[in-house]
């Protein structure tokens, strides 16, 4: 018996606690029971990953032993007012907005009804009406069954966003999914579960955000499934600016149909411990994916991104550009795997990871991996780890800009290439501001 079990937090105990304490599913969600059961079986069959598991080698789960993670239950934060989250809202956002508090939809804070053309913007629970049968069938379809936390999410999922864009429809305004986490007396864990489905030739822009009220301590175990039909296009922005005490894990699974386009911009700035798994699977020819990411790891912060890009079919392209900024004893883990299957001829895949170290005590573990089984492909990868450029710093200082400010400007500049990819101006401004504030705290 390992120590995690003795102190009460391994996946099984989290599962059992969840099964015992979570609010029973309403009858309308009976259809979730078999899916949850499948997740529970998955959890039972897996152990907690450790240093010997390649995908977790640099990313310790030791924090699980430090506290007992209890399920966050629905209800206690109904009283949250719009004023309480006002600071987190994006200026000028006009599209639909789903706001979740501790993993549960808060209808009073959400703004719905703007979507037209048969676009469904809904939630799993939350009283937004029956989930259409067509969507029910898609839930759990592509989630990674081998991912222990994703399985745990499946076993305990209670709420999350459901977005469906019908064939040929372009959802005009961005749809926002905003998560707000509020601290509780005990260390909580929640399992938000989102499903995004674009049918043939549909288009949408989705903004997914994770914020905290105060220095809340909790574990956000998110799972997202994205399915893009032939010729569809999704622009997906994700920003994680959670509290410096939070743990954030998200497992994002994307399936691309032929000629579909997927654009992801990930800004991962917060959390004491943050892990993002992104798997993109090319299932139809001629599809494209562009992934940009920014990882901030301040002192004692761990920021991990694992990419798994699977070129299974010919004539697809993918570009992955990820940047890390580290300070103090911050740690960045980047694992970029690109698989090109034997049939996936004419694949074009380019991956890069550049890291800026502001401190000698910081650590980067970066591992690009190309696994190519086809013979007519164009693939490349590159990683860099460097300090701030002394010539750049001197140039700014020679103009009168003090060293601390010059450092921030250069960090911001380094990040800007990623931030500029964010399609929403409001989110770009917001993320830039959060980054500046956090870099400021670092300098102070």
């Amino acid at each position: 018996m390992n120590t995690a079990e003795q102190t009460g937090t391994d996946l099984i105990s989290v599962l059992h606690q969840g099964q015992r304490l979570l609010t029973p599913l309403p009858a309308a969600l009976d259809w979730l029971i078999p899916l949850r059961e499948r997740g529970a079986q998955g959890v039972a069959a897996m152990r907690l990953p450790g240093r010997k598991d390649e995908a977790w080698r640099y990313t310790s789960l030791a924090f699980l032993e430090q506290a007992e993670y209890r399920p966050l239950i629905e209800g206690p934060f109904d009283a949250l007012q719009l004023d309480d989250v006002d600071e987190m809202l994006l200026n000028g956002h006009e599209g639909d907005r789903l706001v979740f508090v501790n993993g549960y939809l808060a209808p009073a804070l959400s703004a719905l009804g703007g979507a037209s053309g048969g676009v469904v913007v809904s939630a799993l629970a939350g009283g937004l009406g029956e989930v259409p049968a067509s969507l029910r069938a898609r839930l759990g379809e592509i989630a990674e069954q081998q991912h222990p936390f994703s399985a745990l999410n499946t076993a305990l999922m209670s709420d999350g966003a459901l977005i469906h864009v019908p064939r040929g429809v372009a959802s005009e305004k961005p749809i926002e999914i905003l998560h707000v986490s509020v601290g509780t007396e005990q260390t909580g864990i929640c399992h938000p579960r989102h499903l995004i489905v674009l049918e043939e030739d549909a288009r949408a822009e989705i903004i997914e955000r994770y914020c905290s009220l105060g220095d809340a301590v909790y574990f956000n175990n998110v799972s997202i499934e994205v399915s893009l039909g032939a010729g569809s296009e999704l622009v997906h922005s994700r920003s994680q600016e959670e509290s410096q005490n939070a743990q954030h894990l998200s497992d994002l699974q994307v399936r691309l149909g032929e000629r579909s386009r997927y654009r992801l911009v990930l800004a991962s700035l917060g959390g004491a411990w943050s892990r993002s798994d992104v798997r993109v699977t090319f299932e139809g020819e001629g599809a494209e994916a562009e992934l940009d990411g920014l990882m901030l790891a301040r002192d004692k912060q761990l920021n991990d991104v694992h990419l798994d890009i699977r070129h299974e079919v010919p004539h697809c392209s993918s570009r992955e550009t990820f940047k890390g900024i580290l300070d103090g004893k911050g740690r960045v883990v980047f694992d970029g795997r690109i698989l090109v299957a034997q049939d996936a001829q004419k694949t074009d895949a380019q991956l890069s990871n550049d890291n800026l170290m502001l401190s000698r005590s910081a650590e980067v573990d970066t591992k690009p991996q190309l696994e190519i089984f086809a013979d007519d492909v164009k693939c490349s990868h590159g990683t860099t780890v460097g300090e701030l450029d002394g010539d750049m710093l001197f140039y700014l200082r020679s103009r009168g800009i003090p060293q601390v400010q010059a450092t921030q400007m250069l960090c911001q500049g380094f990040a800007q290439e990623v931030l500029d990819r964010l399609p929403s101006e409001a989110l770009r401004a917001r993320t830039g501001k959060v980054l500046a504030e956090r870099l400021n705290q670092t300098a102070a």
């Binding site: 140039y395 700014l396 200082r397 009168g400 003090p402 290439e417």
Partner: protein, 252 residues
């Protein structure tokens, strides 16, 4: 502004480059410092601006009586020292307008002056932009990133015009410029000239001095000033080459 350099010795990576340099620059004066490659011209410019990597082993530099060598680069800038770089650095992701505004306001803050708001700043920068004939689009781009050689030099002169330094040091700003850009650079410097502002022009060639008339010309060789005179010295140098003063053959 009065700059006084006495017996300045400086080394780079253990190699002595400046070997006891004396130079006095009075208020309103323009001094040209000329010399062959490797004579220490750029080292002098960088030591004055406070670049790391240069070790001053002897001598002193004062500006209006204040010890310059003990100050950080940003403190020197706030006092009015400006270095126009021979090779301006590209700053990817750092917006040019933002950079110019932060630089101006940082200096104003350091001097206890009121900062300019965005409106006042934009008005000012538009004026200066016209002065150096720079494309307004270049303000929206990252600093110097992808700029042509001439655009980078214009951007240096734009910064100088905006920051209005008391001591402008131009490090081979004329190198690689076509005649139009050279004229812009010269106009920028000439516009800055005033009874209390001073200029040091570091240059290899006499050409720049046709546009900016210096009060004094100095020849630097092997880390020391070996000859000083008025602008006629530059003409003479052009005719005779540096070998005339250094005793070495040098292809100019």
């Amino acid at each position: 502004m009065k700059l006084s350099i006495k017996n300045l010795k400086a080394e780079v990576e253990g190699k002595e480059i400046l070997k006891g340099l004396d130079l006095e620059v009075g208020p309103g004066e323009v001094h040209a410092v000329m010399g062959p490659n490797g004579s220490g011209k750029s080292t002098l410019a960088h030591v004055l601006a406070g670049r790391a990597g240069y070790t001053v082993t002897a001598g002193e530099v004062t500006m209006d009586g204040e010890d310059l060598l003990g100050l950080e680069p940003e403190q020197r800038a706030a006092l009015g020292v400006f270095l126009a770089f021979q090779y301006p650095v590209e700053l990817p992701g750092v917006n040019n307008t933002h950079f110019l505004k932060e630089a101006l306001n940082a200096q104003r803050r350091a001097r206890g002056e009121r900062e300019l708001d965005s409106v006042a700043f934009l008005k000012l920068i538009r004026e200066k932009l016209a002065m150096v004939s720079m494309q307004p689009e270049l303000l929206k781009r990252p600093v110097n990133a992808g700029f042509s050689g001439g655009e980078k030099k214009r951007n240096e002169i734009l910064q100088m015009a905006l920051l209005e330094p008391m001591l402008a040091i131009l490090d081979e700003t004329d190198s690689g410029l076509d005649i139009d850009a050279l004229k812009t650079v010269s106009d920028g410097v000439n516009a800055l000239r005033s009874p209390d502002r001073s200029v040091i022009l570091v240059t290899h060639y006499q050409r720049l001095l046709d546009y900016i008339e210096p009060d004094f010309v100095h020849v630097l060789a092997d880390g020391r000033i070996v000859r000083s005179g008025d602008k006629s010295l530059a003409k003479e140098l052009e005719k005779k080459g540096y070998g005339w003063l250094t005793g070495k053959d040098e292809a100019a």
